[in-house]
C-alpha cells in the first residue's frame, strides 16, 4: 500500500493531462490485465497452486515473458509462505507491489540526454516496421514545441519511400531533412547531417536508420559504422541511441534489445503502438533482465502522441484499478 500512496502523492504534483493520457492510452492494457487480476482474486478465495497457475497465465498473456513470470511467481509463493497468507485478497497488495517493483527501479534516468547549448545527436535504431520514422517525426515536433531547433537525417536509404516519408514529416512539423538518394551510403548521409547541424548550430539532430533484423550481421555492422562516423565528427555523440520497439512484439524484443545494444550501446527504448490491445508487458521483462530504461512511449497516431516515459505514470496506468482503494482516494483528491 505504501508504494501506491507514495505514487499517488508524486502524481498529484504532475500535470493531469499527461496522467490522463497514460490512463487513456493504457485502457486496453489495463482492462485485460488488472481487471483479470481483480477477477482472479474474486474467483479464487484460497491461495493455492491453481491460483498461481492462473496468475501465471495472465502475466504471460501480457507478454511479460516466461522467465520474468517464473521469478515473480516464485517470489510470490515465498511471500505467501513466510507471511502465512491464505486468502487471495491479502495477496493482492503483494502482487501489485511486486509488479511495480519490476518497473520502478527508481535510480535510472528516463529523461532524454539533451545537451545544454550544444548539439545533441540522437540515433534511432530498430527492426523493420516498428515506427522509427514516425517516432522521429513526433519527437521533432515535441522538441520544436519545447523551443529547440531540430534537424533530421534520412539515414534509411534502403526501404522504398522511406526518405519521402521522413520528408513529409519534415514538412509537417517544419524541420529540415538532410538526405541523399535511395541506395546511398547511410553513413555518408549521417556524416553530412552532423556537419550541417554543426554549421547551422541546431540544438538536436535526429538520425533515422533503415529497419534491420538483429540477426543480419552485415546490417548490424553497418549500424556500428554509422555510430562510429557520428562519434568521429562530433566527439561524445551520439548522445542517445534509441531502440524503437513495437509494443505488440513478443519475447523477440529481448533479443532485439540485447543485439542492438551490442552493436550500438542502446541508451533507451521507445515503445510504440501501445494504444492497441497489446499489453506492452515486455517492458517489464526488459527492465527486469536488461538495464535499458524506456524513455519514450507512443500512445496514438497523432503528432503529439509521443510521451516521455514515466515509470510511475506507467505503473499507475497499468494498475490503477487493481487496488480499488487507491482509485477511490485518487478520485477524491482530484475531483
Amino acid at each position: 500500500m505504501s508504494f501506491f500512496k507514495r505514487l499517488k502523492n508524486k502524481l498529484t504534483t504532475q500535470s493531469d493531462t499527461v496522467t490522463e493520457k497514460f490512463k487513456d492510452g493504457l485502457t486496453k492494457t489495463r482492462a485485460s490485465f488488472s481487471t483479470r487480476i481483480n477477477d482472479l482474486v474474486k474467483n479464487y478465495r484460497k491461495v493455492d497452486e491453481e491460483f498461481f497457475e492462473e496468475l501465471e497465465e495472465i502475466l504471460i498473456e501480457a507478454d511479460v515473458g516466461v522467465s520474468t513470470v517464473m521469478d515473480l511467481i516464485d517470489e510470490l509463493k515465498d511471500e505467501a509462505r513466510t507471511q502465512n497468507i491464505k486468502e487471495t485478497e491479502e495477496l493482492q497488495g503483494v502482487i501489485s507491489e511486486k509488479l511495480a517493483e519490476l518497473l520502478d527501479k527508481g535510480d535510472d534516468d528516463t529523461k532524454l540526454n539533451i545537451q545544454e547549448d550544444e548539439l545533441t545527436v540522437i540515433l534511432f535504431v530498430g527492426v523493420n516496421g516498428v515506427g522509427k520514422t514516425t517516432s522521429i517525426g513526433k519527437l521533432a515536433h515535441k522538441l520544436k514545441q519545447e523551443g529547440k531547433s531540430v534537424l533530421m537525417a534520412a539515414g534509411d536509404t534502403f526501404r522504398a519511400g522511406a526518405i519521402d516519408q521522413l520528408q513529409v514529416w519534415g514538412n509537417r512539423v517544419g524541420v529540415d531533412v538532410i538526405k541523399h538518394s535511395e541506395g546511398a551510403d547511410p553513413a555518408a548521409v549521417v556524416f553530412d547531417a552532423v556537419k550541417s547541424a554543426k554549421t547551422r548550430g541546431v540544438d538536436v539532430l535526429l538520425c533515422d536508420t533503415a529497419g534491420r533484423l538483429q540477426n543480419k550481421v552485415n546490417l548490424m555492422n553497418e549500424l556500428e559504422k554509422i555510430k562510429r562516423v557520428i562519434g568521429r565528427e562530433l566527439p561524445g555523440a551520439p548522445h542517445e541511441v534509441l531502440l524503437v520497439v513495437d509494443a505488440t512484439t513478443g519475447q523477440n524484443a529481448m533479443n532485439q534489445a540485447k543485439t542492438f545494444s551490442q552493436a550500438t550501446d542502446v541508451s533507451g527504448i521507445v515503445l510504440t503502438k501501445l494504444d492497441g490491445t497489446a499489453k506492452g508487458g515486455i517492458v517489464l521483462a526488459i527492465r527486469h533482465e536488461l538495464e535499458i530504461p524506456v524513455k519514450l512511449v507512443g500512445l496514438g497516431e497523432k503528432v503529439e502522441d509521443l510521451y516521455e516515459f514515466d515509470a510511475d505514470q506507467f505503473v499507475y496506468g497499468l494498475f490503477s484499478n487493481i487496488l480499488p482503494n487507491v482509485e477511490e482516494e485518487e478520485s477524491v483528491d482530484r475531483y
Partner: protein, 450 residues
Amino acid sequence: MAFEGLADRLQQTLQKVRGKGKVTEADVKVMMREVRLALLEADVNFKVVKRFVAKVKERAIGQEVLESLTPGQQVVKVVNEELTALMGGEQSKIAVANKPPTVVMMVGLQGAGKTTSTGKLANHLRKKNNRQPLLVAADVYRPAAINQLQTLGKQLSMPVFDLGTDVSPVEIAKQGIAKAKEEHHDYVIIDTAGRLHIDEGLMGELAQIKEIAKPDEILLVVDAMTGQDAVNVAESFHEQLGLTGVVLTKLDGDTRGGAALSIKSVTDTPIKFVGMGEKLDALEPFHPERMASRILGMGDVLSLIEKAQTNVDEKKAKELEEKMRTMSFTFDDFLEQLTQVRSMGPLDELLGMLPGAGQMKQLKNVKVDEKQLNHVEAIIQSMTKGEKLHPETINASRKKRIAKGSGRSVQEVNRLLKQFEDMKKMMKQMSNMQKGKKKGGMGNMKFPFM
C-alpha cells in the same frame, strides 16, 4: 533461422524420452511441462498452448504410446503430428477467380509489412504463376506510402494505380479494379493502410472496400515477432472482414515465431506465405509440416530437396552420377557442383536444414566460410583444361603457377588436390556400397574417416 530456440528446447526434452525403452506417465508429465514452457517462450498464445499440451498429454499417456514398441519415437510422432495439425495441416494456395481479375486485399496493423508483401506477392504471382498483376495504392494515410509502392512497382517494372492521397481508399479500390479489367490484368492487389484492429472507423473503411472490391482473397499481414496479441489481432480482423489467409513476415529474423502456431488454431485461417528476407523475391509458401519437423529436429529435409530440385539441372545431375560411378569425376565437375550447391543459398543455412544438424555440437555454431569456397574456385579456375581433367599431371612447377594465378599459396593448392583425391576415393566406396546394397550386403564398407 526461425524456430531455432524452440527446436533446441524441444529436442533436449525429447532426447530424454528418446533414450528410454518405456515412457512412464511421470516422463510425459515432465516433458509436457517443458513443451509448454518452450511454446510459451516462443510466443505461442497461452490458450493454444494449453489445448495443445492437453491433447498431446492425453494421446501420449494413452495406450498408443505406452504399449508401442518404441515409446520415445511414438511421443515424437504425436508431438509432431499435433504441431503440424495446429499450424494448419496442408499447405494452401492463393485463390484464382473464375472470372479475372482475381482481387487480393492486404490488411494488417501498422508496420507489419503490407506494402513490401504486396510487392513480393506481385513478383511471386508473375514469376511462379505467370500472372500480370496490377498494384493498387490505397494507403492514403501513412506519409509516402504511395511513393513506397510506386518505387516497388518501378523495381519490378509493374504498373501501380493510385489517385493520390485526397481520394478515399474505397474509391481508389473501385477505380483500380475497373482499370485492371480495362487493361486485362488477371490479378489486382490492393495495399491498404495499417490500422489497429480496435479502430472502428478504419475497420469500417476496410469493410467498405471489401463491399466494393469483392475480393477473392483477404490476406492478413502479421509480423512473425508478434507476441500474445497476435491472436486478438487475427481474431478481430477475421471477425470483421472474413480473412482467407495470412502472410507471416520477417520470419528471417531470430524470432521463434510462435504467432504462426496460434493464428491458424484460433481463427482457422491458413498461413499462405512467409516473408524470408528484404529482397523482392523473398516470399515463400508456408509449409506447416516442414515447420513442425524443423521444430522437432527432424530437419527440413523436404525444403532441402525442393531447393535442390529447382536449382540443380536434372540432366546434369544424372551425368554427374554417371561420372561418380565411373570415376571420371574431374575438377570441372567439382567446380560445377560447387556452383550449383552455392546457388541454393548460404551453406550454413543448408546445413541447418539437415536432420539432426541442430543437435550436433560441432555444427551448432558453424559458419561456413564462403571466402574459403571462393579460394577453392579461384584455384580450380587457375588450372589448365588438361590439368582439370588429369590432376595427376600437376607437378611442383605447375602448382607454383596455379598458386600464383589464384593468389593462394602452394600449400592451399596441395590441400585441395589431396581433398579432391580423397573425395574421389570416397565416391568410389559409396558407389560400391550401393552395388553391395543391391546384393544385400554392406559388410565390408570402409569410410576414410572411420
